[in-house]
Symmetry: C2
Subunit: 253 residues, 2 copies
């Protein structure tokens, strides 16, 4: 079992083999055994198979081909809508229109997503996470008809693998694990932690293709730029407000 967790790779190309409805149902059942906050289960899982809806979702995910090529696109959403409705039907006044409640529901959503991901991979399925979900949340809200108090957090494309990619690198364990308390990095430690990643032929090719001088510049100047991050930050904060998670006094920011 540890091997499933250890040997996983992201799968971006899927075969034509369909996923049996019984298997998908079982994986969703198992996913919901993930830990969640106070057993409120403040998430929803939107399972999309329709070609036209996948096509409509695609631009939100920067037109990545997995979205239409995968048999299933699964959008994990922070959801206080269902819980709020239950409270209101039970003479209880919900107080979940705030940032903490959004973070609680986002946390629940991510734990159930990863529980699903491991379950799917243990059955031979391949998955790819799309982090674009929080970049273009409003587009996804529109396509999936997400009501107030529901925000999409992360998306998984799922299908049987049609590729066997080589596992990508990770930083050495001592680069990300701290014992007892956080140990601030010295310049020499940073050098050592990133040395292997920088030495890889694919990293060097990446630098060359992008006309940069260091791998870090590919991230800051091309892949995850300050300008894009700030634009998407504003868009996401607007979505949180619109979906009802910033009712409180905003003067704190």
């Amino acid at each position: 079992m540890l091997d499933v967790l250890r040997n996983r790779t992201t799968i971006r190309k899927y075969s034509d083999q369909s996923i049996a409805p019984e298997l998908m149902n079982e994986l969703l059942e198992v996913a919901c055994r993930a830990a969640n906050t106070g057993n409120m289960q403040v998430y929803s899982i939107v399972v999309t198979q329709s070609a036209s809806i996948k096509q409509a979702l695609k631009p939100a995910h920067f037109n990545q081909p997995m979205v239409t090529q995968a048999p299933f696109v699964i959008t994990f959403c922070a959801d206080f809508n269902r819980f709020n409705k239950w409270c209101l039907q039970r003479n209880a006044e919900p107080g979940y229109d705030n940032f903490l409640s959004f973070m609680t529901a986002a946390t629940d959503s991510l734990l159930v997503a990863e529980h699903f991901c491991v379950a799917a991979e243990s059955k031979g399925l391949g998955t790819c996470y799309l982090g674009t979900t929080i970049y273009n949340a409003q587009q996804i809200i529109d396509v999936l008809h997400l009501p107030k108090f529901v925000v999409p957090i992360i998306t998984l494309t799922v299908g049987y693998p049609a590729e066997t990619p080589v596992q990508v690198d990770r930083l050495p364990l001592e680069g990300v694990v701290h014992y007892e308390t956080y140990q601030e990095y010295t310049a020499e430690e940073i050098e050592r932690i990133y040395a292997y990643k920088e030495s890889l032929p694919e990293s060097q090719q990446f630098v060359h293709e992008n006309n940069k001088t260091t791998l870090a510049q590919v991230f800051t100047d091309v892949r995850y730029t300050k300008e894009a991050n700030e634009t998407f930050s504003d868009m996401l904060l607007d979505v949180l407000k619109k979906q009802g998670f910033f009712f409180q006094d905003n003067s704190k920011l």
Copy 2:
């Protein structure tokens, strides 16, 4: 393997059996195979065994006994500090002092936490998530010496189980899964989705013990109140600002 995922329960009491350092190391290695954003690995894992540091962390977690009783307390943190330092040493200008970057790093942290959790449970360990981490993030920052651009997201207590709790209920699958697009709930559906949970003897005892008339009121009036949520929202937003994730124009909020 699916059984490990399906049969899990939260474990809050741990035996005296220690966890072999080789096993803990293996679990951490495996955890880092979780998917992450752009392979930036913008998280850190703080592994705490020291009795005095666990004692210092305990108040942040509302003095829950697991914090000192568990052999390991593991704090998963959103971390752009390491990545920023690398960028600056490589003539690259990081643009990660914004809300989107915080959400990216929080996402990475939660996926690696759940990957760790499943790995640990597959080896017979028991775990308990502490959602209190984002409530009292500043206290944890102080105890664990987390620098700017590092925010604790979730905590796991880990050890060999000294209890075998009965698995708690979940909402019926149709209550949390939507096909194709989100299907808004009717009042009748809400009744049906929550009927089983409300019928449980432990739910009814919960209502009785708290002198409430409905289970929902236990959540809104006792466990997750509007007042507490708003206080902790303000505290968390202050932490995000202080840790460097709201440098951008705040007039959007």
